[in-house]
Amino acid sequence: MRYLPLNDADRRSMLGVIGAGSIDDLFADVPAEARLDGPIAGLPLHASELSVERHMAALSGRNMAAGSVPFFLGAGAYRHHIPASVDHLIQRGEFLTAYTPYQPEIAQGTLQMLFEFQTQVARLYGCDVANASMYDGSTACWEAVGMARRVTKRSKALIAGGLHPHYASVARTMSKYTGDTLVEMTPNPLADEGAALIAAIDGETSCVVVQYPDIFGRVTDLRPLAEAAHAAGALLIAVVTEPVALGLIEAPGAMGADIVVGEGQSIGVGLQFGGPYLGLFACKDKYVRQMPGRLCGQSVDATGRRAYVLTLSTREQHIRREKATSNICTNSGLCALAFSIHMSLLGEAGLRQLAVINHARATAAAAALNAVLGVTVASGPFFNEFRITLNADAREVARTLATRGILCGVPLGRLYPDRADLANDLLVTATETTSDADIAVLCTALGELLS
């Protein structure tokens, strides 16, 4: 077997050193009734690299790759162009096959990268500090709610209707077990919910969780909400699922958000059917000791040279056990590396340009769709994603167009199956990868289908 270096002579000689008669002797502590005497029946035996590759390629071939068709999906996962050097660098074995940097003397590569990553995320979000990443945006969002409870000593979280329904669903699941109370606003794409959110804040509110841009693509000013939350002693948690937007619109931290979390997949990480992704987590300096997840800090080595090391680990489970701020252990290190490399390639100038191009492509798509009979484009400011209403069930339309090789968007009916009033709504996203020809194909096909 190509991954196993021992041969039978090695095994015999090693058993001799151990003083065991056979491999079975090493498993003597397994009770007889639980021992298996041969390979488990019904499972295939080992296979060559070629045959495994063929098998997996056949499965891959049964999927419609986004890059092979006109593609307009978003809703928390975005298709952007990733420079070739990103994937090359993350496959350096010294990054790919390293462990968590618990031994800083021989992990400065990962640690310095994390320090740079934390700084990039903090600046992108307009916050003081960021951690070394979480599993994904949805779990980072829940962790922020838990952190707000620890900071405010209150446990009533106000969840905006514009929050991604999967994120809200994760929070709902977790709150059942932690004793947090969630006050969830009803998602309403037709009305601005800022005033209703402000009215719902009271003296028991731990935090207000609001997505920016929201699930319907809308961009709103967070400042009035931040002021109202702070006046009531609550925190504002802003959730960003499309980080490219922050190359164009104001950072949530600069608008008063106390904790900013989100999904980092857009920068450096491919779609990958939803994972692994990259949870981003940033906050104000004064809350850092209540943060979940790993943190990398700057220090010096014994000779005074600058060095980096994981720090404030007394918050974490391996030190604090049942008193930890979170049970999280693994982060999303390799995705953080991809994010950081892509962001270093972009730089501020590139990120701003990328954001403007995304906005321009979406604006062009919206204008073209607005001219299609049977399509109504929602009004109001958006970044690269917007809602349209069709004169038919959007799920049916999406399925039909998929058979014609067009991935037209995310039907809101998929995300809100119990909301008949949203059944005809479709979320459409355009990025720098969306061409004029893609937009024309979508408009033509929708026009044919809806007329």
């Binding site: 991954y3 090493l26 390979p39 420079p83 050097s85 096959t97 500090v129 007394t314």
Partner: protein
């Protein structure tokens, strides 16, 4: 200039590298765009006006920066990585190639189900392997990592108890457990009570049984345990816990030792997470991402989180909010957005298919053989507190007993760095003083093991003899010992222009 000083601070192939904030500039970029910028009038009042402070670099600078950083890391690709409980095994590159096939890497999680049947096929096929290898009833694939999987299992237990109308408050956890176990149980609102270990390094079954009662929701047990031993009485423990109406959670971090040789389902387990990044070789990536599917018994399967993939005739259906309405009403909910770590599923499945049922069995055998070889080759020079308890499984545990006055495990670990190794897991498990937990994995040759044994023997002897040079080790790494106290006392977590040069 002294012998070891240079103008650059570099030492031949050991190259210093500044931060991107010190070498980049906000007006420089390594990405060219085809399209020009346009007006953004409709976002007036919401635009970002102040500088962001993100430096850009040209592509050539970026490639050099990260290549230089990478060379300051130790990695499995460079050598044996004996971290106990972490299963740092070879990461086959076929898995990387497969994960990058466009049909896996470039599909959106919310595409119409008819366009991602191959992706569901991967999830279904991997699920079948995991269920069959563990002898369990079902598997929840969406948890994102081991600790997330633990949470999944514990929430299944909580949901099952609620369905029975019971409010049990206590989870029993052996004192040798990973820190994530008590942290997870506490997160889910349980009181955590510790169960002692016996002098041979196993769960004290009598103490555990004595504590069982109607307030106990369940136990969380690692098997093989963190002392590297198989819990012989696992079935009896399961029976006793079931006898009082509780559930058995098994931490599957150490599944590599028994894959293909023992099915946890045969030991009465109700839930166990499987770290795909350990047993099934998906890369650790400097700390993640992981993936932690949870296999479940018939008693807990109805409570599994959404979503999951179901085969309906010739096609697969994703059971999620839209499609779950009429069945799986007892699911405890959703744990994450979308459907789990697809990029890890493809890698793990490629690995599993490569080994097959026979190869996986060989994996466990060679992993256990390698660990016992290390244990017996070093027990004369390092204290092995449970060497008398029988063969170890996939990891060998040593303590700092017998080291010279003032010398401890950290000195041995740092000495191993100078010998060209990543140290073993240190100071864990907590039940052994100055623990050193060595897990070689099955992907090391005898030659590689012999050199490692020679190195650890040499360092251990120096620690026993009180060699003062060991106290300042490592001497040959990119950095010497890092001041962790300073880092925690005055946290500097981001770079700032006004602190540059500090």
């Amino acid at each position: 200039m002294s012998m070891d000083e240079t103008f650059t601070g570099n030492h031949a192939l050991m190259l210093e590298e500044p931060l991107i904030f010190e070498i980049g500039a906000s007006d420089r970029t390594g990405v060219d765009f085809d399209l020009a910028a346009v007006a953004t009038d409709e976002l007036a009042g919401l635009l970002r006006t102040a500088p962001i402070g993100l430096p850009g670099l040209s592509e050539s600078e970026v490639v050099r920066h990260y290549t230089r950083l990478s060379r300051q890391n130790y990695a499995i690709d460079l050598g044996l990585f004996p971290l106990g409980s972490c299963t740092m095994k070879h990461n086959p590159r076929l898995n990387e190639k497969v994960a990058r096939m466009p049909g896996f890497a470039d599909i959106h999680p919310l595409q119409p189900q008819s366009t991602v049947q191959g992706a569901f096929g991967v999830i279904d096929e991997l699920a079948h392997w995991l269920i069959t290898l563990t002898g369990m009833q079902a598997v929840a694939m969406s948890p994102k990592a081991g600790a997330h999987g633990e949470l999944c299992g514990i929430l299944c237990i909580k949901a099952a108890l609620e369905a029975r109308g019971e409010d049990r408050r206590v989870i029993l956890v052996p004192e040798s457990a990973h820190g994530t176990n008590p942290a997870t149980a506490a997160f889910a609102g349980f009181a955590v009570e510790s169960i002692p270990a016996t002098s041979e390094g196993r769960v004290d079954v009598a103490a555990l049984k004595a504590r069982l009662g109607p307030d106990v929701a369940g136990v969380m047990i690692t098997n093989p345990n963190t002392c590297g031993l198989f819990e012989r009485d696992m079935k009896a423990i399961s029976n006793a816990v079931h006898g009082v109406g509780g559930y058995v959670y098994c931490d599957g971090a150490n599944f590599n030792a028994i894959v293909g040789r023992v099915r946890p389902g045969d030991l009465g387990i109700d839930a166990m997470h499987i770290n795909l990044h350990k047993t099934f070789s998906t890369p650790h990536g400097g700390g993640g991402p992981g993936s932690g599917p949870v296999v479940l018994s018939a008693a807990l399967a109805p409570f599994a989180p959404l979503p999951f993939v179901e085969r309906q005739g010739e096609r697969f259906v994703l059971i999620e909010e839209e499609t779950a309405a009429d069945h799986h009403a007892q699911s405890f909910g959703r744990m994450c957005a979308f459907h789990g770590q697809m990029g890890m599923f493809t890698r793990a499945l490629a690995y599993i298919l490569s080994h097959g049922a026979d190869g996986l069995r060989q994996v466990a055998e060679d992993a256990v053989l390698n660990a016992n070889y290390i244990l017996r080759s070093l027990e004369d020079v390092l204290d092995a507190p449970f060497a008398h308890s029988g063969p170890c499984m996939h990891e060998a545990l040593f303590s700092d007993a017998g080291l010279a006055e003032g010398f401890t495990t950290i000195d041995v670990a740092k000495g191993m760095i100078d010998e060209g190794y990543h140290p073993m897991t240190v100071y864990f498990p907590l039940v052994v003083h100055g623990a050193m937990l060595v897990e070689p994995t099955e992907t090391e040759s005898k030659t590689a093991l012999d050199q490692f044994i020679g190195a650890l023997r040499s360092v251990a002897l120096r620690a026993k003899q009180g060699d003062p040079s060991l106290k300042s080790a490592p001497h040959f790494s990119p950095r010497s010992r890092v001041d962790e106290v300073l880092a925690a006392r005055q946290p500097v977590l981001v770079w700032r222009e006004d602190r540059a040069g500090e």
